[in-house]
């Protein structure tokens, strides 16, 4: 019996297999089938992506037979349902999505990171035991509930605040700001948990070194831990932004229905997802150009989230490399 000293398990396996009986062989045949079945399941996920791309590309192509790609990508007016000429410049929708996401990001990204630092570096065990479940609860709340909250609590509050501070009725019944804040609350748990995971995976030795040199916890966090976890934190930001961009129910309820190109958060906007909801809620005649336009918008949305996910993946991969 020759020895293969680097693979004790495999060796034992070999030894055991020398005296293989017929029943073993039959079982191994079955094993091959199992492997194929499992691999098939994995292939199913690739199939899903392929189908999404195929359907969106096909319908978008049909749309672009009626409307020029240039107008779609560069036009600044979106009025597919009304007006003398239907206009299909997608920028107002993209701007609406980005404005809501921006408000959400301004709210959630710093807050999330600070909370993560607090949880990982400062908080005593009992406080963590309270806060982690609170965050989990927030993460599990369905988006319709946030939509309800945005429409019926946040927006009136913003109206009141604007009235008190500026004397004007800045906020209408729908606004990008109200939706943005609600989306921010929704993505806050994502940023916090993922950032906290990243912070905690920074090796303890780095921290102890900093403390030994006389740093405060703040110094350590800001100068040692956060830079060390930067990859994971960036990835959490990207994931949160991806969720915010794809959010549908909150913006459908609270952001408004007017597709306009604006950066003012008190105006109402129509996001890409809210537009798709408008089209699908109306009716579904598969032939009108308006219906096809929602596929083009969906394709653009898919591209945006794909790019963000790829960027996040790249960053995480590079982050892992640095530590190995």
């Amino acid at each position: 019996m020759t020895a293969a000293p680097h693979d004790p398990a495999g060796e034992l396996f070999e030894l055991a297999n020398r005296g293989r009986s017929r029943s073993r062989r039959r079982r191994d045949g079955g094993e091959a089938i199992i492997k194929v079945v499992l691999a098939g399941c994995a292939a199913f996920s690739v199939l899903i992506t392929a189908l999404i791309i195929a359907i969106l590309a096909y319908e978008a192509a049909r749309f672009f037979m009626d409307v020029s790609v240039v107008e779609f990508l560069t036009g600044t007016e979106w009025s597919p349902l009304l007006g003398e000429e239907k206009r299909f410049g997608v920028w107002p929708l993209v701007a609406g999505t980005l404005l809501v996401t921006l408000v959400a990001a301004i709210f959630a990204l710093p807050t999330g990171l600070v909370t993560a630092v607090f949880l990982s570096e400062y908080a005593p065990a009992w406080l963590r035991a309270i806060l982690k479940p609170v965050l989990e609860v927030l993460a599990g709340i369905p988006t319709v509930v946030y939509g309800f909250f945005a429409l019926l609590v946040i927006n009136p509050s913003l109206q009141w605040v604007a009235k008190v501070f500026t004397g004007e009725e800045l906020f209408g019944s729908y606004s990008a700001g109200a939706a943005g804040i609600a989306v921010g609350i929704m993505i806050l748990p994502i940023v916090t948990s993922l950032s906290e995971d990243a912070l905690r995976s920074v090796p303890r030795g780095l921290r102890d070194g900093a403390y030994a040199l006389g740093s405060t916890r703040f110094d350590t966090s800001v100068r040692v831990v956060i830079p060390g976890a930067l990859g994971g934190i960036m990835a959490s930001y990207l994931l949160a932004i991806t969720r915010a961009i794809g959010e549908t129910m909150i913006v459908a309820l609270a952001a408004g229905g007017l597709a306009q190109l604006t950066v003012l958060p008190w105006r109402q906007v129509q996001t890409m997802t809210a537009y798709m909801v408008q089209i699908f809620l109306g009716d579904a005649p598969a032939t009108g150009v308006e219906f096809k336009s929602s596929f083009a918008v969906a394709a653009l949305l898919f591209l945006m989230t794909l790019l963000l996910t790829l960027a996040g993946y790249r960053i995480l991969a590079r982050f892992r490399e640095e530590y190995e």
């Binding site: 007016e77 009025s79 349902l81 009304l82 007006g83 003398e84 206009r87 109206q159 009725e169 906020f171 209408g172 019944s173 729908y174 408004g256 229905g257 007017l258 306009q260 109402q268 408008q278 809620l281 109306g282 009716d283 005649p285």
Partner: protein, 338 residues
């Protein structure tokens, strides 16, 4: 011990059935026990007509609990598309069927019965914080809504008004309300402007107008009456120069013009073969004045309802609003619906 009704002796069983029918709720048209009716009815279409249909469907469910009714709100246009595609039995409509929609039905072999059910007054609303508008003329509406020299502030519409920016809320293009409004305000030559906040959902419009002093919107009078605390109706200057508010009286006697309009349901002829659908439609016609008044619309005069019942009984297909050559006819309900 349930009473078993043996049905392999038709004549005898027939006699047995008639007895309980007399005791239970009976359909006035056929004397039949409504509880025995069973089946599905799929209704879709106008969100303006929806409140009436919903009220009638609920009342009908009490009388005929085994009939399953679903009501959607895809809009008048959307409802007709599904109707022509054979997906629904009844289409709610806040305007008569158009010539091309009627043709679509022809092509897919869907025959229909045209049934008017109530009058509506399309109501123009502004927020309660809007304290300057006392009335509006149709010409001023044109300035507000058309692409021809569109107004951006209220001052552009009437110089005595403040320069508050105009914010417009409109139902969507699938909506019969929108079509009707467009016909009255834009006519054949105008086009409605595109920078409006558009929603198929009337509740979104109410909320939008309510929260904004410079806002203006329009929808059926029922939604106005349900939301009087939040928005107020603007009296419209009618043909005779008088500013009239939409009330049941002014809609019925026609002084609220040009925005009084009839509401319809369109019933698939094939579906009307089914007793539960026929019973529902007759029930609708009996119930309509009360249901309409409950939600804020106006019932039709009794003789028009009789004409509608005759249409059902005789199975008279097609729209009286489209003539043989495929052109649309205009006029009052009484004139056209004979």
């Amino acid at each position: 011990m349930p009473l078993r009704l043996r049905t392999n002796r038709p004549l005898l069983a027939g006699l047995l059935i008639l007895l309980p029918a007399a005791a239970g709720l009976a359909d006035p048209a056929s004397g039949q026990d409504l509880r025995r009716l069973r089946g599905k009815i799929a209704i879709d279409g106008s969100s303006t007509v929806y409140p009436i249909t919903e009220a009638v469907a609920e009342a009908f469910k009490d009388a005929a609990p085994n009939v399953n009714i679903t009501v959607g709100v895809s809009g008048t246009g959307g409802g007709f598309k599904r109707f022509a595609a054979n997906e629904t039995d009844i289409s709610d409509a806040s305007r008569p069927i158009k010539a091309d929609e009627s043709e679509m039905c022809d092509e897919s072999g869907v025959g229909f019965l045209e049934i008017p059910v109530a009058y509506d007054g399309l109501t123009i609303v502004v927020s309660h914080s809007n304290d300057w508008v006392e009335n509006l003329t149709v010409d001023e509406l044109k300035r507000i809504f058309l692409t021809d020299d569109p107004a951006t502030t209220w001052q552009d519409v009437r110089s005595t008004w403040p320069a508050t920016p105009l914010k417009i809320y409109s139902p969507g293009t699938d909506s019969g309300t929108f079509d009707y409004f467009k016909e009255v305000v834009a006519g054949k030559t105008g086009t409605i402007r595109s920078d409006m906040s558009v929603s198929e959902d009337d509740n979104v419009l109410v909320r939008g107008v309510a929260g904004d002093a410079g806002a203006i919107g329009f929808f059926g009078v029922a939604y106005y009456l349900a939301n009087q605390d939040n928005v107020r109706a603007v009296p419209i200057v009618n043909k005779d120069g008088k500013a009239v508010s939409p009330t049941p009286e002014t809609i019925e006697n026609g002084t609220y013009n040009p925005f009084s309009r009839p509401l319809f349901i369109y019933v698939k002829t094939k579906s009307s073969r089914k007793p539960h659908v026929r019973a529902f439609v007759n029930f609708y016609l009996d119930r309509a004045p009360k249901a309409a008044a409950e939600v804020g619309y106006v019932g039709l005069p009794a003789d028009l309802y009789d004409r509608a019942r005759a249409t059902v009984k005789d199975r008279r297909e097609g729209s009286r609003y489209v003539d043989e050559s495929g052109h649309a006819k205009h006029g009052s309900l009484r004139e056209i619906y004979r």
